[in-house]
Symmetry: D2
């Protein structure tokens, strides 16, 4: 086991590695590329790594489904940090290659939607070949198998390529969100700008179950930032939901909402409370009237008095 080793979705030169290096502590860790999300997270489970950084939302390197499936299934893990990274691609080629020479181009399939329009405009004649990762695509260009790869500009140096075009991205503000995952432990203290992730299974015979799930949050004024469905692997129509909610599990409104879910759903798994990337406590919308910790405490006091007849 090593407290100084961090795994990530590799190989070297992926956006995930760049995202990991934005964390200050990364400078003092040994960063270990793993070939898949399950491999990276299993390294954490086995103790080979203290934590792993993997993509979880809107990825250009795949991994979202794998990450969600690993977090919702298998031995429990928890999220301790998130990192947002703006994604732009470079077209990497062997030195000397010109745009008109490019017959084949490669990248991870998840990158394709973000470069499709650019390709149609600038490389209409080129064939797309999928690679296991964007970095691996760069390696295949280095080996001469394909003519060009879409990858992060930073990958050029690693694979001896040069960026022929940079800043390629079809959607404005394309971002990927990554999470730093570790073994379960007490979450860090609330910062005032926090996010809580939870996986929720619905009973399979109840058409209104998702509505009830959302009402557990809504009635306590807890805003949802993201809800993603994942099949449970137990047959058609069996889904679990990975939900990101505003606030920290130590906030009373969040705690009561989670208890409500725990009571009505067959299974709930807490996935972590952690600081929101790129948002400070000043920028957070304050909780709706009646849902602050103070309001909860006053209501508890009032209930205790009422139960005692001191009204």
């Amino acid at each position: 086991m090593s407290a100084t080793r961090y795994a990530y979705l590799g190989p070297e030169g992926t956006f995930t590695e760049v995202a990991l290096r934005t964390l200050p502590e990364a400078a003092t860790r040994e960063l270990v590329p793993m070939l898949s999300v399950p491999a990276a997270l299993d390294a954490v489970r086995s103790g080979e790594a203290a934590a792993a950084l993997v993509p979880i939302e809107n990825s250009v390197e795949g991994g979202i489904s794998a990450t969600l499936d690993e977090l919702t299934g298998g031995e429990p893990l928890m999220i301790y940090r998130e990192v947002l990274l703006s994604i732009t691609f470079a077209l990497l080629v062997r030195p000397g290659t010109k745009l008109q020479d490019i017959k084949t181009v490669t990248a991870h399939p998840a990158a394709q939607p973000q470069v499709r329009n650019w390709m149609a405009a600038h490389l209409p004649q080129a064939a797309w070949e999928s690679a296991a990762s964007n970095a691996d695509g760069a390696r295949l260009v280095q080996e001469g198998r394909y003519d060009a790869a879409f990858a992060g500009e930073f990958a050029a140096a690693i694979y001896g390529l040069e960026p022929l075009v940079t800043e390629i991205h079809d959607a404005e503000n394309a971002q990927t969100r990554f999470v730093l995952v570790g073994r379960p432990a007490r979450p860090s203290a609330p910062t005032g700008a926090d996010k809580t992730s939870v996986a929720i299974w619905l009973g399979d015979d109840h058409p209104g179950a998702l509505l009830e799930l959302l009402q557990e949050f809504a009635v306590r004024g807890v805003n949802l930032m993201l809800i993603q469905s994942r099949p449970t692997g137990e047959g058609i129509g069996n889904y679990c939901f990975a939900v990101d909610a505003e606030g920290h599990i130590a906030d009373r409104r969040v705690g009561e909402a989670l208890m409500g879910l725990k009571r009505i759903c067959p299974k709930v798994r807490f996935l972590g409370s952690y600081p929101r990337a790129g948002v400070s406590a000043d920028e957070v919308t304050p909780p709706r009237a009646g849902t602050s910790d103070t309001a909860f405490t006053e209501a508890s006091d009032w209930l205790a008095r009422s139960q005692d007849g001191r009204i």
Copy 2:
């Protein structure tokens, strides 16, 4: 102050008195008729009476609005018991009066809807005159002011009248509900078949406030048995709601729902938790899955573990 004196909405011979006498303890109390609901409840507030029985729902002697207004306004009181009484009227006359002699008939205005059809069929020629109470109507017949009074059959003896017709009631199963009201104190322990009464004020500028109020109950699986609106006296459109919910304030689902109300509403007043009349614990529908005290305790334990990272 007298712990042995119970006030009730009088005068003697009202249905309220009959309802009061169904309580075992009434046999050992001094029963004091009061001329109005406010007077009966003020006797409790001042300590002249230990408790007062007053009608609160579907009354044939009025008093519902007065009772609700007294419970929601003024110095706090609490409900400790409820009594259900089936209501049927007798037509009381001076001995010797025949049906065809009756030109005027009297009773409290609240009785009128329950005898209207019978009167149309059997006393089409008679004029209706309102009385301050059904018992008072009987007294006015005794004095010769009117020819007949609708009242409880039991009132005949008190006022020297005879019941010319009995078992008069337009609606089948007409019942009135009465509550025994005392000064605030700790409610009696849950029996498994309990009811909780609460008064809730809504903020005046929020069209969805009533919906939110009901959702605080619904999301915790607390069934409502009754919701009655009362103007607050602060102008058109300002209402408070008197709500009866299944369960006891010591039940966790009820407690959490009440705290939810307390947090979102400008004012909430607890009016008591008390045994349901005529219903035993066996007959009560069990709480919806996930809303028992056990489910609440398990969810609290799960939350504590999650906050600690023991997932």
Copy 3:
């Protein structure tokens, strides 16, 4: 039958009469006082009167319950207009009476809450006696039965009394709302500032029925202005609700919400769509995004195209 006769809750000199005289057309009608709300509305049903003005909310002369019961039960009637009247009382006495002479004071019981504080401060020694109406109380003072009456200042002249104190009202902005009721007919066209009244019965065995009722309005963005519960007379726990909603039955969001109620409730009775008193179309909050008639029409068109496969 008379198209020129308007009934109202009398006797002469009530606030209801004053409210009725604020309607321009009242100048050309014969105004007929009736001794009760049922009498006034029966005059409409029988054709003796074209319409009747009766109090419906926050009344100081009673009549709310009676009005609601008459509108929700019996032969159908409809509301065509509403009138708001600010209520302040005068203390009416026989000429020469001084404040310190007053031993008994009278008014309709519904007036009592609005003058209670004033009485406690200025007439602490006086006894309260209930009258059949505020105007009738004035008549009883004229006859010498009581020393003073709370009534509208305008009643002084009618009964030969003088206003000893004016502008008495415990609550600021005390208002009563009156409605002009007629036989069913097509409502007047929408003005842009309209209100729709409807009576809704809930099935008796369904704890969430009221919540569902409110959701039929909420999901179409129809704001509720008032919800009042009334017992149906069919036993404890059986209630109907009289609801006032923003908008006109010709507005599509209102129409769809009413159809929704009609589908899920055992009984719904339309009570009228009419202009809001004291509010012009400019002052009305526009409907929530997606609930205007235009939005409904666009959605219908889209549905028709989709059903046709023209997507």
Copy 4:
């Protein structure tokens, strides 16, 4: 353009091909394997194929995300049929290979979760290599690149392999759902056991938007069978939802719910109404009281009468 050509997610020997051959009409069509879901659907868009069968839920050959992204983006298409197929794998090897000889095994990555446990138990020493499809994995075994492939047993004959082990599947009742997609046209008539698919975009600045979306269905008694989130490609937190609802767009409750969505959501795309696979009209739960077409018609009639004053 060819009305007789059906595309499918190939290559030959995929579960998708087997699913396609369960459709009676497949016998008279030319079945054309395509190498990706986008390729199969583009063949429909361009008119090269009349329809395409692609996996949409719980696939073991991938394609779910691609299918959802193609249906929600790009030129509109519609679903006309669904096919459910039970999935079990065979381990395919070159004739003569024994279990202990297997060092490398391949299949599409989406198959991995369904064979993981079996592999751990029976092939603990074998390395996993991803293939572009399960059928392509079989081809690579035929070519000698890998030792074994997980694929449908039917693929053995196509690629000259033999099934060493059959009936491999980690989850009981593993099924994949496929849809037959064509260019937009009027849906087939309701059968009484229908499903409606729709894609719904939420406004990005509204935390309660998903709850409101679900309420549009719930208030009309339309049950949801599936809700899947997909990123819109417009940045973190921007999602659209692919929803399957019970019923047909020609059913009034479904039509009104869809119109409600159209009014409140920035974008809604109808994806088709089609018969439910494996369910006959007798087996369908009848619509909730008040949501049948008859109830809708009665409510419309009532509204028309009320708007006319015929109450």
